[in-house]
């Protein structure tokens, strides 16, 4: 553990009373300094021109080579990149932190376009497990089906699958919107914390299991509710939001959203430790 002590020479942040300690030894601590411009630099981002378009055939590349090549193209200012022959490879298009039009002409494997912050992505095929995991911002549209853990832990942006998705869609979701045109598997919205999930088709068992917060809208049948997930009445603002969102998402524009089922957290698990044993049983 680093050794903490007070310092006599104060930085600007210290003089503002933000902290007093300094770290010594092997650990180097860098404090925020508003005078240093590099503190405002978002590392790994590029200014790109959407009108500058190129194609990249990744048939003979592994995912590292392909991602490095995408990075190089963004560095050259290309704002629209079309990926040919992705062939179900894993981890393609990950870690893109700037605006970009990224088009995959084919299918992706696991962890496609994970940890992105800003790009607009269209996949003209299917995606495997954990697509767009940890997405911060941007828009991702999948034309066909998706595997399990679709949109795991997303924090923002719009994630749209026009087909059906596997189990645990939106697991640990912390923000943003996930829209599914077809059916969704078991444990949809498992431990969801914020954001919205919209499923136009049916969902499997244990919907919204142990969700903390957030909202799930289901157009079809529900296999079963998970622990602490409850039905809630649809309001006018729900209906207006759904209509607007489905239109923007280019999916289900004619869908009668007023007949959807709204599912939220019962929030009994919030005070789980304070409950009496019989109440705990009821909560579970």
């Amino acid at each position: 553990m680093a050794n903490l002590k007070t310092t006599e020479k104060k930085t600007k942040a210290q003089s503002m009373g933000l902290h007093t300690e300094v770290l010594t030894g092997k650990t180097q601590q860098k404090f925020f300094n508003p005078d240093e411009a590099e503190n405002f630099y978002y590392w790994g981002t590029y200014d790109v021109d959407f009108n500058k378009r190129t194609e990249l055939d990744v048939n003979d590349m592994d995912c590292k080579e392909a991602n490095k090549k995408i990075d190089e193209l963004m560095n050259q200012g290309y704002g629209t990149i079309v990926i040919k022959n992705p062939q179900g490879k894993h981890s393609l298009g990950v870690g893109i932190l700037n605006k970009l039009n990224l088009i995959f002409e084919g299918s992706l494997g696991y962890f496609g376009v994970g940890s992105i912050d800003g790009p607009t992505v269209r996949v003209n095929g299917r995606v495997g497990w954990s697509c767009a995991e940890n997405m911060m911002a941007g828009k991702v549209v999948i034309e066909k089906n998706a595997g399990s853990c679709f949109g795991a832990a997303v924090r923002g942006g719009d994630l749209i699958c026009k087909g059906s998705v596997g189990a645990r869609t939106g697991i640990d979701q912390k923000g943003g919107t996930i829209i599914i045109g077809g059916d969704a598997g078991a444990f949809t919205g498992f431990m969801m914390q914020r954001g919205r999930i919209v499923v136009l088709g049916n969902v499997g068992i244990n919907l919204g299991d142990s969700m903390y917060d957030g909202t799930i809208y289901v157009g079809g049948k529900i296999g079963s509710y998970g622990s602490d997930a409850i039905e809630s009445p649809m309001t006018k603002s729900d209906i207006d939001w759904l209509k607007r969102k489905l239109k923007v998402a280019e999916i289900g524009e004619d869908f009668d959203v007023s007949k959807m089922t709204k599912v939220v957290a019962g929030k009994k698990l919030w005070n789980y430790d304070a409950l009496e044993p019989t109440e705990k049983k009821g909560a579970i």
């Binding site: 062939q87 179900g88 490879k89 894993h90 084919g106 299918s107 494997g109 696991y110 095929g125 299917r126 495997g128 497990w129 066909k144 089906n145 998706a146 595997g147 399990s148 087909g163 059906s164 998705v165 596997g166 189990a167 645990r168 059916d183 598997g185 078991a186 444990f187 499997g204 068992i205």
Partner: protein, 314 residues
């Protein structure tokens, strides 16, 4: 982790040995401790094909004990004499490796339980498969290494299932490798990706009913479980549906018979499976890249949902 793959051609034969090798090699990052093939070849259906081993591969990474080849020879002699005693006749004999053999046997009694029990009463001998179409080939190494070692690339047939193994629950050896034969049923084989948590309870129950286990690999339970169900009159599909509640844990498994191929996924959908289905071909694997090795063009695939069981006929 492990990876599984399978395919079935409907209404025609194809080079399933080469195709499955490509699928399993694409999944080699999921495990290279051992690789196994269950291939359903085009045969005349007259004789039984028995794949068996008289020892283990003791190469690099193996958890088996080295034995002299003379020990294998001695075991083979006893197998030959027992086959004769059972009223069967060896029509063709191939010794691919010192410890691995393939016999074509003329045996008309049809009771494989008695036959298998007799052969496997010899210490160190295990029947890997027995059937009129099925051949199970499994050994240490990745898909290409095993395919080359056993010259499987030319095998023509209708369907096949295979497994790329990362050993977690039991040793790195052939006896723990997949596929498992659905002993004592002719032409039944199983591969599995996952972990069964009620293995020992089920094993004790099944052993008390006279079923046999050759390894301590939890996946073997699925083959034995289904075999016991079928022995009691259930169809393959009924047995598979029953397994969703009878087996505890996480699993996706494939089972194949002479004329069919099936898949089952646990009720938590915890293990991956991607499926491609058309009138001519069904191909499935733990990851899409396995299917891409036989279908490089753009195709529609999907993940089966939790608790799904599907069976296709050739």
């Amino acid at each position: 982790m492990c990876g599984i793959a399978g395919l079935i051609h409907r209404g025609k034969s194809s080079n399933v040995g080469q195709e499955l090798q490509g699928m399993l090699q694409a999944l080699k990052h999921r495990g290279e401790d051992s690789t196994g093939y269950a291939l359903y070849g085009d045969t005349d259906g007259q004789n039984f094909i028995m794949r068996f081993k008289v020892g283990e591969n003791v190469g690099e990474g193996s958890s088996s004990v080295m034995e002299d080849v003379s020990v294998y020879d001695e075991r083979k002699k006893i197998v030959d004499s027992y086959i004769s005693q059972m009223g069967a006749k060896i029509v063709k004999e191939e010794r691919t490796l010192p410890y691995s053999l393939r016999y074509e046997i003329d045996y008309d009694k049809g009771d494989l339980l008695e036959f298998s029990q007799k052969i496997e009463s010899i210490p160190g001998v295990e029947i890997l498969s027995m059937g009129k179409s099925l051949e199970v080939i499994k050994d240490l190494g990745n898909a290409k290494a095993v395919c080359d070692r056993y010259n499987l690339g030319d095998l023509v047939g209708t369907h096949a299932i295979g497994h790329a193994r990362m050993a977690t629950e039991s040793g790195v050896d052939i006896k723990s490798a997949h596929p498992f034969w659905g002993y004592p049923f002719s032409d039944v084989s199983v591969v599995h990706n996952g972990q069964l948590t009620n293995y020992w309870n089920n094993r004790r129950i099944l052993e008390n009913k006279g079923m046999r286990f050759m390894s301590e690999c939890d996946s073997e339970l699925i083959a034995v479980y289904l075999a016991e169900k079928m022995r009691n009159g259930a169809t393959l599909e009924e047995g598979m549906k029953d397994s969703l509640s009878g087996l505890d844990g996480v699993f996706t498994y494939f089972v194949a018979t002479k004329n069919s191929l099936g898949m089952a996924k646990d009720t938590m959908a915890a293990k991956p499976l991607v499926l491609y289905e058309s009138d001519e071909l069904v191909a499935m694997g733990s990851e899409e890249i396995a299917i891409r090795s036989v279908l490089p063009q753009e195709i529609d695939t999907y993940d089966p949902f939790d608790g799904e069981v599907k069976v296709w006929q050739i």
